[in-house]
Amino acid sequence: MASDGNDPDEALLAGVGRGDPSAVRTLLDRRLPRILALARRMLNDSGEAEDVAQETFLRAWKQARAWKPGAARFDTWLHRVALNLCYDRLRRRREIATDTPPEQVDTGPAPDAGLIGADLSKRVEAALAALPPRQREAIVLCHHQGLGNIEAAGLMEISVEALESLLSRGRRALKASLADLAGG
């Protein structure tokens, strides 16, 4: 996906390439939380999410000196690298799961109802984790990461119509599994 020539990270990235410590810090402040949140929601595992975020930025540091402005927005590039790393891990999990039956995630209401705070958060996280990965990816990119439909579809290498289908199916499934919370 080509950049529109107005990449807000371009100057920072040049600073990173020169070894400017303040550019490194600012770029991490701006982008690391987004990438870590993306990996966490895709993988539902804090340790793996941290590994993915770390590897993504290590690759970014290698690219910093050779970064070609205009080829892609840096944020889009980061998302692409992080998503690829997430899918590597999800694939590995599937391979392992062929030998070991996966633990079923119970996304239904807790027997004692009245969920608050952390419990509610866990319910939502479990429901998101139970979605097929592509539906989860579509929802995380559009809802949580706030990407536009064209950018999200480009990252997923699908059409906007296919993205909308994934979003719609994913939200329907979430609505059903969280019906007791959504009151619907």
Partner: protein
């Protein structure tokens, strides 16, 4: 402005959620117009979608901890990399000078055993100093370009 059907409005709410601002840019204006004309029917559609949005917002994000940030800062390109190139340049210059000095010293010592060290030692520093200062200038010039 392209007209929007009620069905398309409902589809968009179920797809992108209850905030029209997050719908595809090209359809927002038509959606707002349709909502204004059909508020009684479409407001509940948006409210229901927004309810799921709020639940989705509860999916935990993870804040980077200090250790991760520290590792990434340590691994980032460092200004010291520039310093290392400077030192490498200086080291190479000094190494060449030392080698030249040693070579001449050995040559003279072999050729003129009696005159050996004092003469060579007296002459050689001049050669060494010139080479080193030239290499030093080259090496020193590098950081200023960055």
């Amino acid at each position: 402005m392209v007209m929007m059907t009620l069905e398309r409005f409902e589809d968009l709410a179920q797809t992108y959620g209850g905030e029209i601002a997050r719908w595809p840019e090209g359809e927002r204006e038509a959606a707002r117009a349709l909502l204004a004309e059909n508020a009684a029917r479409l407001s509940p559609v948006l409210a229901e979608a927004a309810q799921l949005d709020r639940l989705l917002d509860l999916a935990p994000a993870q804040r980077p901890d200090a250790a991760l940030i520290g590792r990434l800062i340590a691994a980032a390109p460092q200004p010291a990399a520039v310093g290392r190139r400077w030192i490498a340049g200086l080291g190479a210059a000094l190494g060449l000078s030392a080698a030249a000095f040693a070579g001449i010293a050995v040559g003279v010592a072999v050729g003129r055993p009696q005159a050996a060290a004092p003469v060579v030692v007296a002459e050689q520093p001049v050669v060494t100093a010139v080479d080193t200062s030239s290499a030093l200038q080259d090496a020193l010039a590098e950081p200023s370009e960055l």
